[in-house]
Symmetry: none
Subunit: 413 residues, 2 copies
């Protein structure tokens, strides 16, 4: 089954946003075994969109669009799609009710424009939107299928996962499947990782092996094609086990799990509580820890000590340390970790202090220098790091490293 | 002049990489005044690429490709492009010398495969590659132009800037430029915003008007085409002023500025300091405030009070309030704001408490309910909000609203 992805919107044509939706849909469809052979982007112009969709329907069995389902005049994807199959649109009461409900829930009256979103082509399958007002639709005609999905990524993803995948697998019952497993690593550079498994990369055919660097982590993707899920899984496991033999200590989890969740699971399992004292990361570490549902079980509280006075009054960092070695130092990081642990009486305390930049650096203490201290039942340790990149990148990398430090500390505790 | 961007490569079709090249080229071409009306992605397959390029040449004046200029069998973009204009390829000695030189510089012998990269279609303009082995080419035929650029982003960008822009501006001597201005709004829904300026949207031609919803904000983009920058700016200003008359209070800034920076500038200008007490947002508000360079000037410190004990001990929230109306309440939010302000002696204090989900909601207090309180020299105010989406979305939207609350409070102070 050949699929074409058609993304719409002026922002894409102007280059003001990157086409994340096309990549997301392509990845998801390939995993299901579909061949995505074309991707097209076109603007919200009736004639050009009609022409692009006509070409797509000619060369693909399934055309999936993203964008143009909103309430505005420029949102025309559904109308144009329907016209290609000669379908009229009529009001779909359930969708209208849903839109009204969402507006009421958000606390404002439904605008007249929103009614447009409840207009559905005759015979279409309606895809409820769990995250917004625009329903998606599936149109079938003479063996060809058009699927209209919304443009906002979180709405599109949710609808793709919950509605489109079940529809496609139900309708086409795939005869071979492609399965991927991602090994998430932290603390090892891309080149070093590649060198460790270079022979495996060179020898790859099925499963394939790919590395991808992301901010603060590198992922290894193993992809196997087989006739059954079980067979694909077995193929992956052989290769995964060999990779784990070589770089296992850097692998913090597989697939979609984030290091926040891995750390959370470890803390829960060991019944440990944690508190953070953050300076240069400004609360980002605590925010990431609390991105995990149920984190209130182990995260007690944190202090963002941006001003030195806060380090002294709240964390009991000795003024003498700040005066002698300065706020960005091993001594201060350790005192912050110990101070927050003692303040909140938690099992673990974290202290982070550094220079996020772009200003405030010196030869001795350059921008990107970050001390991360951890304290707990196994004593206090401090790690000196030098991160690269702009302010927000330094902050993020510091939290990524801090989470890895917590992971290793708790595992050994 | 209509341009189509054609990107090639299996990684794009598999969704393994995001199409950054298309966005980069689109942005650069639009700035020069070209209309990028189509973007297509196709794999390294001769028939499909030929068909895609034929369609592109039919509907566009200029087709710019990226990818498929490498030394491998799969690299076919140049050959396919040449075949569409019936051109043969012959060895281009200068390009071959250049490839040899690069290999010598990198310290390895030139592979036989690389010779392929020096094969140039007859009559083509050769674009030297300053960053790699693959030269680009420009092919002209009957008023149509194909430009082949390499796929690696740094090679493509360098060649686009140094070779393609001078070629295009030289050939087409741009008689018009396109200028955009973005008005960033917060606190107004997309539908309501559109209704407020619907007549302007319907009447648009030049400048054009477009709306785009992002998490927690909606942007209005005004784009003008004119013969000079000054003229375009004036056209934009007329429309911007009309829009500001209607929805000015929701516009927090223009172009790339984020609301964190707007809030930071206001606090600096008025010499005010701030501290936050965060519960459900877990430090994200403070982290966003500290994303702005120089934020240490006004951000004093914050407390993440995840556990109720922290609300009591650190923020002096009365246990009686927590016991009667609960942690997620107007009373608690206000007490948190006042508590943190008094603790750190800042001009402004913020208190945020709510239910980020997915668990912990009830009929009375559903997931997404967030109270945001602000206190300062103009007294204490509290806002009740109901946000939708998953945990991280609720957190983000709560911080976006909190930043808007700070913005409005400080402006009026």
């Amino acid at each position: 089954m050949v699929v074409e992805i058609v993304t719409t919107g002026t922002e894409l044509l102007l280059g003001q946003i990157v086409n994340l939706n096309a990549a997301y849909l392509a990845e998801g469809l390939n995993k299901l075994g579909f061949d995505v052979l074309y991707q097209t982007t076109v603007g919200d112009n009736r004639d050009r969109m009609k022409q692009a969709l006509t070409i797509a329907l000619d060369r693909a069995d399934i055309v999936i669009t993203s964008g143009g389902l909103g309430p505005t005049q420029g949102d025309i994807t559904k109308e144009v799609s329907a016209s290609l199959f000669d379908k009229e649109l009529s009001l779909h009461q359930a969708s209208l009710d849903n839109i009204k409900e969402i507006c009421a829930f958000r606390g404002y009256p439904m605008a007249q424009n929103n009614i447009k979103q409840a207009m559905i082509p005759d015979g279409a399958i309606v895809l409820d939107n769990a995250c917004g007002t625009a329903p998606g639709i599936i149109l079938e005609n003479n063996g060809k299928v058009i699927i209209n999905l919304p443009g906002p990524p979180f709405e599109m993803k949710d609808m793709f996962q919950k509605k489109v995948i079940p529809y496609l697998t139900g309708k086409y019952g795939m005869d071979s499947i492609i399965l991927s497993r991602v090994l998430n690593t932290v603390g090892i550079g891309e080149s070093t990782l590649e060198e460790s498994i270079e022979d495996l990369i060179l020898a790859q055919s099925n499963p394939t092996l790919a590395l991808l660097a992301r901010p603060g982590e590198v992922i290894v993707r193993i992809t196997a094609k087989a006739s059954t899920k079980k067979e694909a899984e077995q193929m992956i496991e052989v290769l995964e086990s060999e990779i784990r033999n070589r770089i296992g200590e850097y692998i913090f989890g597989t697939d979609d799990i984030g290091i926040e969740e891995v750390v959370g699971n470890l803390l829960k399992k060991k019944h440990l509580t944690i508190a953070c004292a953050e300076s240069c990361t400004g609360g980002l570490l605590t925010s990431r820890i609390t991105d995990v549902p149920g984190s209130s079980e182990y995260l007690y509280g944190s202090v963002v000590s941006y001003d030195n006075e806060v380090k002294i009054s709240e964390l009991k960092v000795p003024a003498s340390i700040l005066g002698s070695v300065g706020a960005v130092s091993e001594e201060t990081a350790k005192a912050m970790a110990e101070g927050i642990r003692s303040k909140f009486n938690t099992d673990i305390g974290i202290g982070i202090t550094g220079i996020a930049g772009p200003d405030g650096g010196s030869n001795e203490k350059p921008v990107g220098l970050v001390y991360i201290a951890i304290t707990g039942h196994s004593g206090t340790k401090c790690y000196k790091n030098q991160f690269k990149g702009k302010r927000t990148a330094v902050k993020y990398r510091a939290t990524q490293t801090a989470l890895d430090i917590i992971r290793r500390y708790v595992k050994e505790t």
